[in-house]
Symmetry: C2
Subunit: 337 residues, 2 copies
């Protein structure tokens, strides 16, 4: 069953295949009646264009890449979900959305202008710097989301993680806490550093002591939040509040607290980062920082589409506001307000 082509239609319509091509592409050159006739024949034959052929001659692939640093550890399901949703909402039917982890590539060879009309990189880690440089070098239209990029100039949309972390840490201080720990994100992720920096900045600005034993590693997943909190609870001198670098870890951390018969926030306050879908439904509802990933994804997709259309890319960095979301996981203690 070989499929129907414009030549088949041409034969039936008694015109040249060029005319069919033009008619199907709504060229103004074609007589309206001819056009209708051709279209109806195409419809009745159930014609569908061969995109490979069209791509070959037009030099467009109709593929858009949505690339994550990794699809394995460090990428939370909520993050993936929001990113895909945001992008997908914008591109609809016009493009194929190809989802992939950059670390799944053995070689970037197959990433090129012929195969991708544009690229959206959800960058989490500096490890994909080489990929971004590669793509920029190949002059593939590209937007990089989530992580601030240096060295190479691209359109770069990022949430203001440091400011958000600063705000949530300051919130703890305002509530009277002076013994504030942090469970950090995945090593090597830029967001890990930004959140740590915001935390430190707040503590320093308010003269709150920074103790090394209250800085524990994590990797953004539930288990690491659980383990990190256990380390903190084993300490002689416990903190009164813990800033978890994302909500997943906060959930794990709270688990560790309740397992010991302690309660959040009565015995220990916990805050997170991201404002995951589930955060409002945790018990207690989690105080956290909203990071507008879906919004950024949507904006990124819109930018990319306009670059492709205008055949012209802009290069700049746009920050998106993160926002403190106050819920019920922080207790006001002596001296707080």
């Amino acid at each position: 069953m070989s499929s129907v082509t414009i030549k088949d239609i041409a034969k039936l319509a008694g015109v040249s295949h060029t005319t069919v091509s033009r008619a199907l592409n709504d060229s103004p050159l074609i007589n309206p009646e001819t056009k209708d006739r051709i279209k109806s024949i195409a419809g009745s034959l159930n014609y569908t264009p061969n995109y490979s052929a069209r791509s070959l001659v037009l030099d467009r692939s109709y593929n858009l890449g949505l690339f994550f640093s990794t699809l394995h550890t460090g990428t939370s399901s909520g993050f993936l979900y929001e990113a895909i949703k945001g992008v997908n909402d914008v591109i609809k039917d016009q493009f194929n959305l190809i989802v992939r982890g950059i670390d799944d590539y053995k070689s970037y060879h197959n990433v090129n202008r012929k195969s991708f009309d544009g690229l959206i990189v959800m960058s989490q880690s500096a490890s994909d710097q080489s990929f971004i440089e590669y793509a920029a070098d190949k002059e593939i239209p590209i937007v990089v989301l989530n992580r601030p990029i240096d060295k190479v100039k691209v359109m770069n949309l990022v949430p203001d993680d440091q400011r958000g972390a600063y705000r949530v840490a300051e919130h703890l201080i305002e509530k009277g806490h002076r013994r504030i720990a942090i469970i950090e994100g995945k090593q090597g992720f830029k967001s890990t550093q930004a959140r740590r920096d915001g935390y430190r900045e707040a503590l320093e600005k308010h003269g709150v002591p920074l103790r090394n034993e209250w800085i524990v590693p994590g990797n953004y997943d539930l288990e690491s939040g659980y383990a990190g909190m256990n380390r903190l609870l084993d300490l002689k001198e416990r903190p009164t509040a813990v800033f978890c670098s994302n909500d997943d870890m906060a959930l794990g951390a709270i688990k560790a607290v309740t397992e010991r018969g302690l309660r959040v926030p009565d015995d220990l306050s916990v805050v997170g980062f991201d404002d995951h879908l589930f955060s409002a439904f945790m018990s207690p509802a989690l105080t956290t920082v909203r990071r507008p990933i879906e919004e950024i994804s949507r904006a990124g997709a819109e930018k990319l589409l306009s670059f492709i259309e205008k055949k012209q890319v802009e290069k700049s960095t746009v920050y998106f506001h993160t926002e403190l979301v106050i819920r019920d996981s922080v207790k006001t203690i002596a001296g707080g307000n």
Copy 2:
């Protein structure tokens, strides 16, 4: 900057472009030395094949579709995540993985053998029956995951939801519960029905009364679990245990319970379905049913790849076991063991 083609390589190598094509495709016909020479020239020119051209002549697109019923409500982030991960792990570099919601298509026109070498449908709802029939009719290699399909014969890999729901409901009964409510899944989703059926079957088999007011609607999201539980708590005669049709709703339901100053499982037992990543980290850890989505996705991808390779599809239904996961959200009450 027009890119380098096999003709450019041919010129430099002093051979015909045919020879280049053969060399690059490792044809045994080509003299090993010529082959090496051509390959090294290709490498130094940074040649990448034009996939549109290759697709056109080979009649393969190198695209695989991973289609969900919807990318909007009803598809939880964990579900999306596991599906993508499972499929991606299998297909690696050989194909482009195109992710899309079926309800985003205005017309299926662009879904055809030329554009997709194969399709993986993560079917949640009967609403995508027409899509599946369309694809099967077009003879696109296809596997349908998650939802049992009737009428059209395809390779169909599904978790045994009903059996899982039966087991978890039975577990509640074994623990002494006889007042067991259900918060249902999204209307129209096959899984909703299967879980409801399993629940009913268990209650009937054990002579436990089925009360209409203990059957409340939901739609698989957190909010609906919260709302559903509130309805149950407002009842004159409350249940002692609630089966939430997925873990997301269980989280929302538990929120409703704790907000009223009640505790799980002391005052009310709650179980879920899916065994989300976060379920083990909830407080209390959630008793639920593991649904092996990642495993099914992987198996589906492998099947599909073999169909494409052998140019021959099998058609059958394979059930994957769901599994009761007992944690801490169920209390043993009088008469239980």
